[in-house]
Protein backbone atom coordinates (compact mmCIF):
# COMPACT_ATOMS: atom_id res chain seq x y z
CA UNK A 1 0.00 0.00 0.00
CA UNK A 2 2.85 2.27 0.88
CA UNK A 3 4.31 2.00 -2.59
CA UNK A 4 1.06 3.01 -4.23
CA UNK A 5 0.89 5.98 -1.93
CA UNK A 6 4.47 6.88 -2.84
CA UNK A 7 3.74 6.71 -6.53
CA UNK A 8 0.62 8.79 -6.15
CA UNK A 9 2.31 11.38 -3.96
CA UNK A 10 5.33 11.49 -6.23
CA UNK A 11 3.07 12.11 -9.18
CA UNK A 12 0.92 14.73 -7.47
CA UNK A 13 3.78 16.78 -6.07
CA UNK A 14 5.55 16.68 -9.41
CA UNK A 15 2.43 18.01 -11.08
CA UNK A 16 2.38 20.79 -8.50
CA UNK A 17 5.94 21.63 -9.42
CA UNK A 18 5.03 21.55 -13.08
CA UNK A 19 2.30 24.09 -12.45
CA UNK A 20 4.94 26.40 -10.97
CA UNK A 21 7.07 25.85 -14.04
CA UNK A 22 4.07 26.37 -16.30
CA UNK A 23 3.37 29.74 -14.74
CA UNK A 24 6.83 30.85 -15.77
CA UNK A 25 5.66 30.81 -19.40
CA UNK A 26 3.90 34.09 -18.69
CA UNK A 27 6.78 35.78 -16.90
CA UNK A 28 9.12 37.84 -19.08
CA UNK A 29 12.50 36.23 -19.59
CA UNK A 30 15.40 37.54 -17.54
CA UNK A 31 18.12 36.19 -19.75
CA UNK A 32 20.09 38.49 -22.01
CA UNK A 33 21.33 37.50 -25.45
CA UNK A 34 24.80 38.66 -24.64
CA UNK A 35 26.79 39.73 -27.66
CA UNK A 36 23.85 41.48 -29.28
CA UNK A 37 22.20 42.67 -26.08
CA UNK A 38 23.98 43.95 -23.01
CA UNK A 39 22.80 44.56 -19.52
CA UNK A 40 23.30 48.05 -18.12
CA UNK A 41 26.44 48.48 -16.10
CA UNK A 42 26.16 50.02 -12.65
CA UNK A 43 28.05 53.18 -11.86
CA UNK A 44 30.55 51.42 -9.61
CA UNK A 45 31.31 48.58 -11.98
CA UNK A 46 34.92 47.46 -11.82
CA UNK A 47 36.21 46.94 -15.32
CA UNK A 48 39.72 47.23 -16.68
CA UNK A 49 41.95 49.38 -14.54
CA UNK A 50 43.09 52.54 -16.34
CA UNK A 51 45.46 55.31 -15.38
CA UNK A 52 45.36 58.80 -16.74
CA UNK A 53 49.12 59.26 -16.80
CA UNK A 54 48.90 62.99 -17.52
CA UNK A 55 47.75 63.73 -13.97
CA UNK A 56 49.38 60.88 -12.06
CA UNK A 57 51.94 62.36 -9.66
CA UNK A 58 53.91 59.15 -9.25
CA UNK A 59 53.41 59.05 -5.52
CA UNK A 60 53.74 55.26 -5.43
CA UNK A 61 50.80 54.81 -3.09
CA UNK A 62 48.97 52.47 -5.39
CA UNK A 63 52.10 50.40 -5.93
CA UNK A 64 52.49 49.93 -2.21
CA UNK A 65 48.90 48.94 -1.48
CA UNK A 66 48.44 46.55 -4.40
CA UNK A 67 48.11 43.07 -2.89
CA UNK A 68 49.53 41.30 -5.94
CA UNK A 69 52.29 43.74 -6.93
CA UNK A 70 51.03 44.27 -10.44
CA UNK A 71 51.71 47.99 -10.71
CA UNK A 72 55.04 49.58 -11.44
CA UNK A 73 55.65 53.29 -11.37
CA UNK A 74 58.58 55.59 -11.99
CA UNK A 75 58.36 59.35 -11.73
CA UNK A 76 60.37 62.33 -12.82
CA UNK A 77 60.38 65.93 -11.73
CA UNK A 78 60.10 67.46 -8.27
CA UNK A 79 57.18 68.78 -6.23
CA UNK A 80 54.09 69.76 -8.15
CA UNK A 81 55.72 69.12 -11.50
CA UNK A 82 56.28 65.49 -10.68
CA UNK A 83 54.68 63.19 -13.20
CA UNK A 84 54.92 59.52 -13.99
CA UNK A 85 57.37 58.56 -16.69
CA UNK A 86 56.67 54.87 -16.52
CA UNK A 87 53.44 53.43 -15.22
CA UNK A 88 52.72 49.83 -16.06
CA UNK A 89 50.03 47.46 -15.00
CA UNK A 90 50.14 43.74 -15.43
CA UNK A 91 46.59 42.62 -16.17
CA UNK A 92 47.63 39.01 -15.68
CA UNK A 93 48.04 39.59 -11.99
CA UNK A 94 45.48 42.30 -11.27
CA UNK A 95 42.55 41.02 -9.23
CA UNK A 96 40.27 44.03 -9.76
CA UNK A 97 40.08 44.82 -6.09
CA UNK A 98 40.12 48.63 -6.51
CA UNK A 99 42.32 49.16 -3.45
CA UNK A 100 44.68 51.23 -5.60
CA UNK A 101 41.80 53.38 -6.85
CA UNK A 102 40.85 54.24 -3.31
CA UNK A 103 44.30 55.38 -2.22
CA UNK A 104 45.09 57.43 -5.32
CA UNK A 105 45.21 61.05 -4.11
CA UNK A 106 44.56 62.63 -7.52
CA UNK A 107 42.08 60.07 -8.85
CA UNK A 108 44.14 59.47 -11.92
CA UNK A 109 43.69 55.75 -11.48
CA UNK A 110 40.21 54.40 -12.03
CA UNK A 111 38.26 51.33 -13.01
CA UNK A 112 36.75 51.82 -16.44
CA UNK A 113 33.53 50.25 -17.64
CA UNK A 114 35.35 48.25 -20.23
CA UNK A 115 35.07 44.52 -19.75
CA UNK A 116 35.36 43.14 -23.25
CA UNK A 117 39.08 42.89 -23.54
CA UNK A 118 40.94 40.18 -25.33
CA UNK A 119 44.65 39.56 -25.41
CA UNK A 120 46.36 37.04 -27.59
CA UNK A 121 49.58 36.97 -25.69
CA UNK A 122 50.75 37.60 -22.14
CA UNK A 123 53.13 40.39 -23.08
CA UNK A 124 50.19 42.43 -24.35
CA UNK A 125 48.66 42.28 -20.92
CA UNK A 126 51.36 44.50 -19.51
CA UNK A 127 50.39 48.02 -20.42
CA UNK A 128 52.39 51.19 -20.01
CA UNK A 129 50.03 54.12 -19.71
CA UNK A 130 52.74 56.68 -20.38
CA UNK A 131 53.56 55.18 -23.78
CA UNK A 132 50.07 54.05 -24.61
CA UNK A 133 47.42 56.30 -23.07
CA UNK A 134 44.02 54.73 -23.06
CA UNK A 135 41.00 56.82 -23.98
CA UNK A 136 38.63 56.79 -21.03
CA UNK A 137 35.62 54.57 -21.60
CA UNK A 138 33.54 55.77 -18.68
CA UNK A 139 34.10 54.81 -15.10
CA UNK A 140 34.15 56.23 -11.67
CA UNK A 141 36.67 58.94 -12.36
CA UNK A 142 36.04 62.37 -10.94
CA UNK A 143 36.40 65.40 -13.24
CA UNK A 144 40.05 65.92 -13.97
CA UNK A 145 40.12 69.72 -13.35
CA UNK A 146 38.94 69.25 -9.82
CA UNK A 147 41.68 66.86 -8.95
CA UNK A 148 44.67 68.08 -10.92
CA UNK A 149 45.54 71.40 -9.26
CA UNK A 150 46.32 70.59 -5.65
CA UNK A 151 46.67 66.99 -4.67
CA UNK A 152 47.35 67.75 -1.01
CA UNK A 153 44.10 69.65 -0.53
CA UNK A 154 42.15 67.04 -2.39
CA UNK A 155 43.47 64.42 -0.06
CA UNK A 156 42.20 66.21 3.03
CA UNK A 157 38.77 66.90 1.71
CA UNK A 158 38.07 63.61 0.08
CA UNK A 159 35.42 61.78 1.95
CA UNK A 160 35.76 58.32 0.57
CA UNK A 161 39.33 57.58 1.57
CA UNK A 162 39.18 56.76 5.22
CA UNK A 163 42.87 56.18 5.57
CA UNK A 164 43.62 59.73 4.43
CA UNK A 165 41.36 61.20 7.11
CA UNK A 166 43.44 60.09 10.06
Amino acid sequence: MAIINDILQGFLTTVKGMIVTGKECFVPAVTVQYPTEKRPIPERFRGMLVNDASICIACDKCVRICPVNCLYCEGEGKGKARRASVFTIDYVKCCWCALCVEVCPVDSLYMSHDYETVFTDRSQMIRDFCQDPIPPIGGRQKPAEESSDNPAEKKEGESNSGRAAA
Partner: protein, 379 residues
Protein backbone atom coordinates in the same frame (compact mmCIF):
# COMPACT_ATOMS: atom_id res chain seq x y z
CA UNK B 1 43.17 -38.36 -11.16
CA UNK B 2 43.47 -34.66 -10.83
CA UNK B 3 40.87 -33.02 -8.72
CA UNK B 4 39.99 -29.55 -9.90
CA UNK B 5 40.92 -26.90 -7.38
CA UNK B 6 38.00 -25.78 -5.39
CA UNK B 7 37.09 -22.19 -6.24
CA UNK B 8 37.87 -19.93 -3.34
CA UNK B 9 34.94 -18.16 -1.78
CA UNK B 10 34.57 -14.74 -3.35
CA UNK B 11 36.87 -12.34 -1.63
CA UNK B 12 35.22 -9.12 -0.64
CA UNK B 13 38.04 -6.82 -1.58
CA UNK B 14 36.70 -3.32 -1.80
CA UNK B 15 36.75 -1.62 -5.15
CA UNK B 16 38.18 1.87 -4.91
CA UNK B 17 36.36 4.41 -7.02
CA UNK B 18 37.58 7.95 -7.30
CA UNK B 19 34.87 10.55 -7.28
CA UNK B 20 36.33 13.84 -8.39
CA UNK B 21 38.36 16.01 -8.37
CA UNK B 22 36.39 17.06 -11.43
CA UNK B 23 33.08 15.55 -10.46
CA UNK B 24 30.13 17.91 -10.89
CA UNK B 25 28.60 17.07 -7.54
CA UNK B 26 31.71 17.75 -5.48
CA UNK B 27 31.22 21.49 -6.00
CA UNK B 28 34.84 22.22 -6.64
CA UNK B 29 37.99 20.21 -6.66
CA UNK B 30 37.30 17.66 -3.99
CA UNK B 31 38.35 14.08 -4.53
CA UNK B 32 36.45 11.43 -2.63
CA UNK B 33 37.93 7.99 -2.44
CA UNK B 34 35.04 5.54 -2.33
CA UNK B 35 35.79 2.07 -1.05
CA UNK B 36 32.80 0.24 -2.42
CA UNK B 37 31.41 -3.21 -2.03
CA UNK B 38 28.90 -3.46 -4.80
CA UNK B 39 26.52 -0.60 -4.41
CA UNK B 40 27.46 0.05 -0.80
CA UNK B 41 30.18 2.46 0.19
CA UNK B 42 32.22 1.09 3.05
CA UNK B 43 34.35 4.16 3.42
CA UNK B 44 34.39 7.50 1.71
CA UNK B 45 37.58 9.43 2.32
CA UNK B 46 37.61 13.05 1.21
CA UNK B 47 40.98 14.09 -0.18
CA UNK B 48 41.55 17.80 -0.10
CA UNK B 49 44.29 20.22 -0.98
CA UNK B 50 43.77 20.81 -4.68
CA UNK B 51 43.02 24.46 -4.15
CA UNK B 52 45.60 25.29 -1.52
CA UNK B 53 46.87 28.82 -2.00
CA UNK B 54 48.82 29.52 1.21
CA UNK B 55 46.26 32.06 2.37
CA UNK B 56 47.53 32.18 5.92
CA UNK B 57 51.14 32.66 4.93
CA UNK B 58 50.18 35.39 2.46
CA UNK B 59 48.35 37.12 5.29
CA UNK B 60 51.55 37.11 7.30
CA UNK B 61 53.48 38.83 4.54
CA UNK B 62 51.21 41.57 3.21
CA UNK B 63 49.53 44.42 5.02
CA UNK B 64 46.26 44.22 6.90
CA UNK B 65 44.27 46.24 4.37
CA UNK B 66 45.76 44.53 1.33
CA UNK B 67 44.56 41.18 2.64
CA UNK B 68 40.88 42.01 2.13
CA UNK B 69 40.79 40.76 -1.51
CA UNK B 70 42.37 37.51 -0.38
CA UNK B 71 39.58 36.83 2.08
CA UNK B 72 37.14 37.18 -0.84
CA UNK B 73 38.64 34.16 -2.41
CA UNK B 74 38.35 31.88 0.58
CA UNK B 75 34.63 31.31 0.56
CA UNK B 76 33.86 32.90 -2.76
CA UNK B 77 30.13 32.34 -2.43
CA UNK B 78 29.97 34.47 0.68
CA UNK B 79 32.74 36.96 0.07
CA UNK B 80 31.04 39.74 2.03
CA UNK B 81 30.91 37.69 5.20
CA UNK B 82 34.56 36.80 4.85
CA UNK B 83 35.59 40.43 4.34
CA UNK B 84 33.50 41.34 7.31
CA UNK B 85 35.11 38.79 9.62
CA UNK B 86 38.56 39.91 8.59
CA UNK B 87 37.69 43.57 9.08
CA UNK B 88 36.21 42.82 12.51
CA UNK B 89 39.32 40.94 13.49
CA UNK B 90 41.68 43.77 12.53
CA UNK B 91 39.40 46.35 14.11
CA UNK B 92 39.49 44.48 17.39
CA UNK B 93 43.25 44.11 17.14
CA UNK B 94 43.91 47.76 16.41
CA UNK B 95 40.95 49.12 18.38
CA UNK B 96 39.26 50.90 15.51
CA UNK B 97 35.74 52.24 15.90
CA UNK B 98 33.21 51.54 13.19
CA UNK B 99 30.43 54.08 12.54
CA UNK B 100 26.86 52.97 13.02
CA UNK B 101 25.95 53.42 9.38
CA UNK B 102 28.81 51.20 8.33
CA UNK B 103 27.54 48.50 10.69
CA UNK B 104 24.12 48.69 9.10
CA UNK B 105 25.59 48.40 5.64
CA UNK B 106 27.63 45.43 6.80
CA UNK B 107 24.61 43.59 8.15
CA UNK B 108 22.77 44.47 4.96
CA UNK B 109 25.41 43.04 2.63
CA UNK B 110 26.09 40.14 4.95
CA UNK B 111 22.48 38.98 4.96
CA UNK B 112 22.08 39.54 1.21
CA UNK B 113 25.14 37.46 0.65
CA UNK B 114 23.75 34.79 2.96
CA UNK B 115 20.66 34.58 0.78
CA UNK B 116 22.78 34.41 -2.36
CA UNK B 117 24.94 31.69 -0.86
CA UNK B 118 22.01 29.60 0.38
CA UNK B 119 20.33 29.90 -3.01
CA UNK B 120 23.39 28.35 -4.59
CA UNK B 121 23.37 25.64 -1.94
CA UNK B 122 19.74 24.63 -2.41
CA UNK B 123 19.80 25.13 -6.18
CA UNK B 124 22.84 22.99 -6.78
CA UNK B 125 21.55 20.44 -4.31
CA UNK B 126 18.55 19.92 -6.57
CA UNK B 127 20.97 19.61 -9.44
CA UNK B 128 22.90 16.89 -7.62
CA UNK B 129 19.72 14.88 -7.30
CA UNK B 130 18.73 15.43 -10.90
CA UNK B 131 16.27 18.29 -10.56
CA UNK B 132 17.32 20.93 -13.04
CA UNK B 133 14.46 23.43 -12.91
CA UNK B 134 14.86 24.50 -9.26
CA UNK B 135 18.47 25.31 -10.02
CA UNK B 136 17.41 27.84 -12.65
CA UNK B 137 14.87 29.37 -10.28
CA UNK B 138 17.45 29.67 -7.51
CA UNK B 139 19.99 31.27 -9.79
CA UNK B 140 17.48 33.75 -11.13
CA UNK B 141 16.78 34.97 -7.60
CA UNK B 142 20.46 34.97 -6.78
CA UNK B 143 21.06 37.17 -9.77
CA UNK B 144 18.85 39.82 -8.19
CA UNK B 145 20.83 39.80 -4.95
CA UNK B 146 24.05 39.97 -6.92
CA UNK B 147 22.71 42.96 -8.85
CA UNK B 148 22.19 44.78 -5.56
CA UNK B 149 25.65 43.88 -4.33
CA UNK B 150 27.11 44.90 -7.68
CA UNK B 151 25.38 48.24 -7.42
CA UNK B 152 27.11 48.75 -4.06
CA UNK B 153 30.52 47.29 -4.62
CA UNK B 154 31.10 46.99 -8.36
CA UNK B 155 31.81 43.28 -8.20
CA UNK B 156 29.60 40.27 -8.57
CA UNK B 157 31.47 37.52 -6.80
CA UNK B 158 34.60 38.80 -5.13
CA UNK B 159 33.35 42.06 -3.72
CA UNK B 160 36.18 43.29 -1.51
CA UNK B 161 33.64 45.75 -0.18
CA UNK B 162 33.88 45.58 3.59
CA UNK B 163 37.06 47.36 4.55
CA UNK B 164 38.87 47.85 7.81
CA UNK B 165 37.03 50.62 9.62
CA UNK B 166 33.86 50.51 7.57
CA UNK B 167 32.83 49.76 4.03
CA UNK B 168 34.41 50.90 0.78
CA UNK B 169 31.56 53.02 -0.49
CA UNK B 170 28.32 54.40 0.83
CA UNK B 171 24.88 52.94 0.42
CA UNK B 172 22.96 54.27 -2.57
CA UNK B 173 19.28 55.05 -2.87
CA UNK B 174 19.10 52.89 -5.96
CA UNK B 175 20.37 49.86 -4.03
CA UNK B 176 17.71 50.46 -1.38
CA UNK B 177 14.99 50.56 -4.03
CA UNK B 178 16.30 47.40 -5.62
CA UNK B 179 16.30 45.68 -2.23
CA UNK B 180 12.73 46.73 -1.50
CA UNK B 181 11.63 45.38 -4.84
CA UNK B 182 13.56 42.19 -4.23
CA UNK B 183 12.13 41.63 -0.76
CA UNK B 184 8.60 42.26 -1.97
CA UNK B 185 8.58 39.23 -4.18
CA UNK B 186 11.27 37.01 -2.69
CA UNK B 187 9.09 35.21 -0.16
CA UNK B 188 6.54 34.29 -2.79
CA UNK B 189 9.39 33.04 -4.93
CA UNK B 190 10.67 30.94 -2.04
CA UNK B 191 7.19 29.50 -1.54
CA UNK B 192 6.99 28.44 -5.14
CA UNK B 193 10.49 27.05 -4.84
CA UNK B 194 9.23 24.89 -1.98
CA UNK B 195 6.46 23.54 -4.19
CA UNK B 196 8.98 22.84 -6.87
CA UNK B 197 11.58 21.04 -4.80
CA UNK B 198 11.30 21.00 -1.00
CA UNK B 199 7.95 19.23 -0.75
CA UNK B 200 8.33 17.11 -3.82
CA UNK B 201 7.68 13.57 -2.69
CA UNK B 202 10.47 12.06 -4.78
CA UNK B 203 12.92 14.59 -3.38
CA UNK B 204 11.82 13.82 0.17
CA UNK B 205 12.16 10.10 -0.45
CA UNK B 206 15.72 10.63 -1.63
CA UNK B 207 16.79 12.80 1.25
CA UNK B 208 14.75 12.11 4.39
CA UNK B 209 16.18 9.59 6.88
CA UNK B 210 19.49 9.54 5.05
CA UNK B 211 22.74 10.71 6.55
CA UNK B 212 21.26 11.67 9.89
CA UNK B 213 23.76 13.47 12.09
CA UNK B 214 22.99 13.55 15.78
CA UNK B 215 23.48 16.64 17.87
CA UNK B 216 26.21 15.05 20.04
CA UNK B 217 28.09 13.89 16.99
CA UNK B 218 27.85 17.32 15.42
CA UNK B 219 29.25 18.99 18.53
CA UNK B 220 32.00 16.38 18.84
CA UNK B 221 33.16 17.08 15.30
CA UNK B 222 33.03 20.85 15.67
CA UNK B 223 30.29 21.24 13.11
CA UNK B 224 28.88 24.74 12.86
CA UNK B 225 26.30 26.70 10.95
CA UNK B 226 23.20 25.28 9.27
CA UNK B 227 24.55 21.74 9.62
CA UNK B 228 24.75 22.05 13.40
CA UNK B 229 21.32 23.64 13.68
CA UNK B 230 19.81 20.99 11.45
CA UNK B 231 20.97 18.43 13.99
CA UNK B 232 18.83 20.09 16.62
CA UNK B 233 21.45 22.19 18.37
CA UNK B 234 20.15 25.69 18.91
CA UNK B 235 23.30 27.72 18.40
CA UNK B 236 23.78 30.77 16.26
CA UNK B 237 26.47 33.35 16.92
CA UNK B 238 24.26 36.13 15.64
CA UNK B 239 22.01 35.63 18.63
CA UNK B 240 24.16 33.85 21.21
CA UNK B 241 27.26 35.99 20.91
CA UNK B 242 25.93 39.04 19.11
CA UNK B 243 28.60 40.80 17.14
CA UNK B 244 28.19 44.02 15.18
CA UNK B 245 24.58 45.17 15.67
CA UNK B 246 22.73 41.87 15.44
CA UNK B 247 21.23 42.35 18.91
CA UNK B 248 19.06 45.13 17.49
CA UNK B 249 17.16 42.92 15.10
CA UNK B 250 14.44 40.44 15.69
CA UNK B 251 14.81 37.10 14.03
CA UNK B 252 14.39 33.43 14.81
CA UNK B 253 17.00 30.74 14.61
CA UNK B 254 15.58 27.79 12.69
CA UNK B 255 16.46 24.43 14.22
CA UNK B 256 16.06 21.03 12.64
CA UNK B 257 12.90 19.23 13.73
CA UNK B 258 12.95 16.13 11.60
CA UNK B 259 9.78 17.13 9.80
CA UNK B 260 10.06 14.47 7.13
CA UNK B 261 12.24 11.94 8.88
CA UNK B 262 14.92 11.99 11.55
CA UNK B 263 16.39 15.13 13.04
CA UNK B 264 19.57 16.05 11.19
CA UNK B 265 18.97 14.07 8.03
CA UNK B 266 19.67 15.38 4.57
CA UNK B 267 16.26 16.90 4.14
CA UNK B 268 16.60 18.78 7.43
CA UNK B 269 19.95 20.18 6.43
CA UNK B 270 18.44 21.34 3.18
CA UNK B 271 15.30 22.76 4.81
CA UNK B 272 17.24 24.75 7.39
CA UNK B 273 18.78 26.80 4.59
CA UNK B 274 15.40 27.62 3.11
CA UNK B 275 14.16 28.74 6.51
CA UNK B 276 17.27 30.82 7.10
CA UNK B 277 16.53 32.68 3.91
CA UNK B 278 13.11 33.61 5.26
CA UNK B 279 14.77 34.89 8.42
CA UNK B 280 17.35 36.84 6.43
CA UNK B 281 14.58 38.66 4.61
CA UNK B 282 13.17 39.62 8.00
CA UNK B 283 16.53 41.05 9.08
CA UNK B 284 16.91 42.87 5.77
CA UNK B 285 13.52 44.49 6.16
CA UNK B 286 14.48 45.80 9.59
CA UNK B 287 17.84 47.00 8.30
CA UNK B 288 16.48 49.07 5.43
CA UNK B 289 13.84 50.58 7.67
CA UNK B 290 16.34 51.75 10.23
CA UNK B 291 19.22 53.08 8.19
CA UNK B 292 20.94 55.81 10.20
CA UNK B 293 22.75 58.79 8.75
CA UNK B 294 26.46 59.18 9.13
CA UNK B 295 29.74 58.16 7.67
CA UNK B 296 30.44 54.80 6.12
CA UNK B 297 34.09 54.83 7.12
CA UNK B 298 35.63 55.23 10.55
CA UNK B 299 38.96 56.77 11.38
CA UNK B 300 41.72 54.45 10.31
CA UNK B 301 45.39 55.30 10.73
CA UNK B 302 47.25 55.66 7.43
CA UNK B 303 49.62 52.89 8.45
CA UNK B 304 48.07 50.21 10.60
CA UNK B 305 50.36 49.16 13.40
CA UNK B 306 48.42 47.28 16.07
CA UNK B 307 49.94 47.14 19.56
CA UNK B 308 52.69 44.65 20.16
CA UNK B 309 51.69 41.19 21.36
CA UNK B 310 48.02 41.87 20.82
CA UNK B 311 46.13 38.67 20.23
CA UNK B 312 42.58 38.26 18.95
CA UNK B 313 40.19 35.54 18.00
CA UNK B 314 37.08 36.72 16.20
CA UNK B 315 34.34 34.49 14.92
CA UNK B 316 31.21 35.24 12.98
CA UNK B 317 28.30 33.30 11.58
CA UNK B 318 28.91 32.86 7.87
CA UNK B 319 26.40 31.08 5.64
CA UNK B 320 28.33 27.86 6.07
CA UNK B 321 29.10 28.17 9.74
CA UNK B 322 31.55 29.86 12.00
CA UNK B 323 34.40 31.59 10.28
CA UNK B 324 37.13 32.71 12.61
CA UNK B 325 40.45 34.45 12.39
CA UNK B 326 43.11 34.17 15.02
CA UNK B 327 45.85 36.71 14.87
CA UNK B 328 48.91 37.74 16.82
CA UNK B 329 50.50 41.09 16.16
CA UNK B 330 54.15 41.90 16.75
CA UNK B 331 53.64 45.62 16.34
CA UNK B 332 54.69 45.70 12.70
CA UNK B 333 52.66 46.29 9.56
CA UNK B 334 51.86 42.62 9.09
CA UNK B 335 50.47 40.05 11.53
CA UNK B 336 53.00 37.79 13.19
CA UNK B 337 50.72 34.81 12.92
CA UNK B 338 47.40 34.37 11.18
CA UNK B 339 45.14 31.39 11.41
CA UNK B 340 41.81 31.02 9.70
CA UNK B 341 39.21 28.56 10.85
CA UNK B 342 36.97 27.77 7.94
CA UNK B 343 33.53 26.26 8.51
CA UNK B 344 33.57 24.05 5.41
CA UNK B 345 36.81 22.42 6.46
CA UNK B 346 35.49 21.45 9.88
CA UNK B 347 32.13 20.37 8.49
CA UNK B 348 33.77 18.11 5.96
CA UNK B 349 35.54 16.20 8.73
CA UNK B 350 32.35 14.34 9.61
CA UNK B 351 31.84 13.16 6.05
CA UNK B 352 33.67 9.86 6.43
CA UNK B 353 31.73 8.95 9.54
CA UNK B 354 28.40 9.95 8.07
CA UNK B 355 28.73 8.08 4.79
CA UNK B 356 29.77 4.74 6.24
CA UNK B 357 27.74 1.90 4.70
CA UNK B 358 25.73 4.16 2.49
CA UNK B 359 24.67 3.67 -1.09
CA UNK B 360 26.75 5.47 -3.70
CA UNK B 361 23.85 7.64 -4.81
CA UNK B 362 23.28 8.73 -1.22
CA UNK B 363 26.89 9.80 -0.84
CA UNK B 364 26.26 12.43 -3.50
CA UNK B 365 23.02 13.42 -1.80
CA UNK B 366 24.83 13.78 1.52
CA UNK B 367 27.77 15.74 0.20
CA UNK B 368 25.38 18.25 -1.35
CA UNK B 369 23.89 19.15 2.03
CA UNK B 370 27.34 19.92 3.42
CA UNK B 371 27.50 22.84 1.01
CA UNK B 372 31.27 22.83 0.96
CA UNK B 373 33.19 25.50 -0.86
CA UNK B 374 36.54 24.09 -1.73
CA UNK B 375 38.20 27.48 -1.78
CA UNK B 376 37.57 27.61 1.91
CA UNK B 377 38.41 24.01 2.75
CA UNK B 378 41.87 24.30 1.25
CA UNK B 379 42.53 28.01 1.63
Amino acid sequence: MITPAQPKPLQGEPLVVHMGPQHPSTHGVLRVELHTDGEVVERAIPNIGYLHRCKEKIGESIGYDAYVPYTDRMDYLAAMNNNWTWAMCVEKLAEIEVPERAEYIRVFVGELNRIASHLVAVGTYGLDLGAFTPFLHAFREREMTLDILEELSGGRLCFGYVRIGGVAEDMTARAMDMTRRFLKQFRAKLDSFNELLSFNHIFIKRTANIGALSGEQAIAYGITGPMLRASGVDWDLRRDEPYSIYNRFEFDIPVGQGLKGQVGDNWDRYWIRIREMYESTRILEQVIDGFPEGSHMGKVPAVLRPPKDAEVYVRTECPRGELAFYMISDGSKVPFRLKARGPSFCNLSVFEELTRDMLIADVVATLGTFDVVMGEVDR
